[in-house]
Structure formats: structure tokens, C-alpha cells
Symmetry: C2
Subunit: 192 residues, 2 copies
DNA sequence: TTTTTGATTGACTTGTCAGTCAATAACCGG
DNA sequence: CCGGTTATTGACTGACAAGTCAATCAAAAA
């Protein structure tokens, strides 16, 4: 076995296994041993490549966040300029990061971000990017893009949350968010 | 010390301490010892009254859920019949269950509900009641109360989530949800 | 006063888990 | 084919936490 250049493969396997394990357990209370076993190696090796459990979690979180970013970016490049908002929403519910294990892991990373500084930083970056994307997409189509962006971002998170809890069903998720967006855009002023 | 009838007091203290401890730690990884210490007793006593960590968590979750139910119910009884929707939203963001520790604990209970059957049951009851309340409030004011209720429920959860993450700020939370509701009601049809 | 009963805890048991380490195996370039 | 490097693990440890238990203490009841 001991060929050279295993590191990237091992790391990727561990990251994937981490997401699956967290998704299956529905919690961060998974042991390095469980993760390593699922990834087909010893726990010692997992420590060798990542240094510690926290770093494994962070890598998994980065992976999920990156996947999400990529989905949104792809949707955005394919979108017509006046449909950027819909693209962001579609990207947010791409099957990739919308599979049960990922959503469940995502939910648990929320909790993780409350404890771990770096995790909090990652999450804040994600939130900022989403907000900025939304504002940009909304500016030409509504007169209060900041406020609308906050509302839509919350709606996305809320729908995500419910998807994570009721594992998987939630088919019309994107449509629901689009409905909200549509309603907000059609109404001139939403102050109360 | 050993007077009679300590049990209710002890249980209440433990429940409160559990919420505080989970809120402070930002995670369910709190020890029975920590909880008991915060509640001013030994861990053995906590076990004596509750039987185990899981039951302590469940009791804390029930407490939060009950508090929420009470807030909504109170707001609902005080509301004019045509403002029931706004009352539900206000009740959902009552300062009681909206304080940082409670929201943080709430978030972690979401995670707990993925693991523990009873916790899942409690959460589903809460979701069902919220949905039913919303539908009832929406029926006279819109033609698709079911769909609107799901959207507004998701919005409430999403705003809650963001409040839990960015500990505490989030002052105009209720207003944002009301804005969404308002927009949904003014638009006749929201299908995409 | 004596007995019963709830309240309470320190000490203990048992288990688990993160992280370490020394040893082994297999590739690679020279 | 040899010395260096990477890969890999079994075995170990130190810490910590859940849950148990027997003993103690003090109020209440008899």
C-alpha cells in the first residue's frame, strides 16, 4: 500500500467520511475512530494528516462551504443578468449540498461555529458572501436591496433548516424561496 | 438543609442551569457536573432527580418549548381577530424565549432532535402547532393558507437561526417576518 | 424520643476517546 | 540494493465524564 502521494486522497476520504458520519449521527459527537473507519484507515492516520479532530471538522466545513460557493457561482454564470436572484436561490438548493448528510452536517456546523473561532469566521464569510450576492442581484429590481437580502437570506436558511430536520423531502424548497422573493419584489414597500 | 419538597425547586434550577450552560458553551457538550454546579448542587443529585443526562436535556427542551407555546398563546388571546398572524409572529419573538442563551440552546436542540426520538417528537409537535396556528390565522386573509404558513414558518425559523448565530442583536426580527407576511398577503398568487 | 423518610454528597466504577509513539512496510532515487 | 522518506498501524496513556452507591444529615411523623 504505502505508495507516495496518498495524502490528498486520504484527506479527501476523511472529509467525505466526516460529513457522512456527522449526517448519520445527527451530531458532532462522532469519534475520530468512526470517521477513520468509514474512510478506510486507522484513527492514528487521521491524526497524522490532520493533527486533530477540530481540524478535521474545519476541513469538512470548508468543503461544504466551498461546494456551496461553487454551486452558486456556477448558477450565477449561467444566469441571465436579470435572473441573478433566481440563480442564487437555485444554487443554494443544488442537489449537491442539499443531500441529507450535507444538510445535517451543515446544521451541526452552525453549532460548531458557536464554539470554534475559525468555524465562526468561515460561517461569517459565507453569510457575507451570500448577502453581497443577494444585494447585487436585487439592486436593479427593488428599492431596498439590503433589507430584502436579509429577508431572503433568512428564508433560505429557514428552508434549509427544515430540510435538515425532516430529512430530505422538501422538494419545492427553491420554489418557496422564489415565491417569497417574487412577493417582496412586487410589493413596493415592506415596512411592517 | 434537607427540608421537604425540594424536588420541584431542584428540577427547575437544573432546567434553567442546563439552558444557561448550553447557551454559554454553544453546544450540548456540557457535563452533568457543570450543569449541577451552576444549579448549586452535586452531580449525583442531578442524577437522582432526573435519572440521566438525556432526561435533563429533554426537560430543558420541554421547558423552552412550553415557554414558547405560552408566549404565542398569550399574544394570541390579546390579539384582535384580524391580527392573529401578527400576534403569532410577535409571540415567536417574545423576549422570553429570544434571549441569547435560549436561542442558542434552541439551536442545539435541533441537533439533539436528530438523535433522540423523544426530542424529535417534541420538535414535531412544536412545528405542527405553529403550522396549525398560522393556517388558522391566515385562512381568512389569503387563498393559499397552507403554502403561506410553510413560508412564514420557515421565515421565523430562519430569523431565529440567525439570531442564535449572531448572538443577540437582531432587534427588528419580528418586523422582518411581518414584512414577509405582508408582502405575501398583498400578492394574490405566489407560485414562482 | 424514636423512627422514618427525603435530601445530599464524596468516592468509586466503568467506559470512552483524543492524541502519542515506536515499530513496520513499501516505495524512491542513487 | 541501500539509505531516506512516506505511509501506516497496534498498542498505549492520560483525561474526563456518566452513572452508582453506601453513608450521612436533618426534618417530619409517630
Amino acid at each position: 500500500m504505502p505508495k507516495i502521494g496518498q495524502e490528498p486522497k486520504r484527506r479527501a476520504a476523511l472529509v467525505a467520511a466526516t460529513v457522512e458520519e456527522i449526517g448519520a449521527a445527527g451530531s458532532l459527537e462522532v469519534t475520530v475512530g468512526q470517521i477513520a473507519k468509514r474512510a478506510g484507515m486507522s484513527s492514528a492516520l487521521a491524526h497524522h494528516y490532520f493533527g486533530g479532530k477540530t481540524q478535521i471538522f474545519l476541513a469538512a466545513m470548508r468543503h461544504i462551504l466551498n461546494q456551496y460557493s461553487r454551486d452558486v457561482r456556477d448558477a450565477l454564470t449561467k444566469a441571465q443578468p436579470d435572473r441573478r436572484l433566481e440563480a442564487i436561490i437555485d444554487g443554494s438548493f443544488d442537489p449537491n449540498c442539499f443531500d441529507p448528510a450535507a444538510t445535517s452536517a451543515w446544521l451541526n456546523f452552525y453549532s460548531f461555529a458557536q464554539r470554534d473561532q475559525e468555524a465562526g469566521r468561515l460561517l461569517r464569510i459565507y453569510q457575507k458572501r451570500l448577502h453581497s450576492n443577494l444585494v447585487h442581484a436585487l439592486r436593479p429590481r427593488c428599492d431596498k436591496p439590503q433589507e430584502a437580502a436579509q429577508i431572503i437570506a433568512a428564508q433560505i436558511d429557514g428552508v434549509y433548516l427544515r430540510a435538515a430536520l425532516n430529512k430530505g423531502d422538501m422538494n419545492g424548497a427553491a420554489d418557496k424561496v422564489k415565491a417569497v422573493a417574487q412577493a417582496l419584489l412586487e410589493v413596493k414597500t415592506y415596512d411592517a
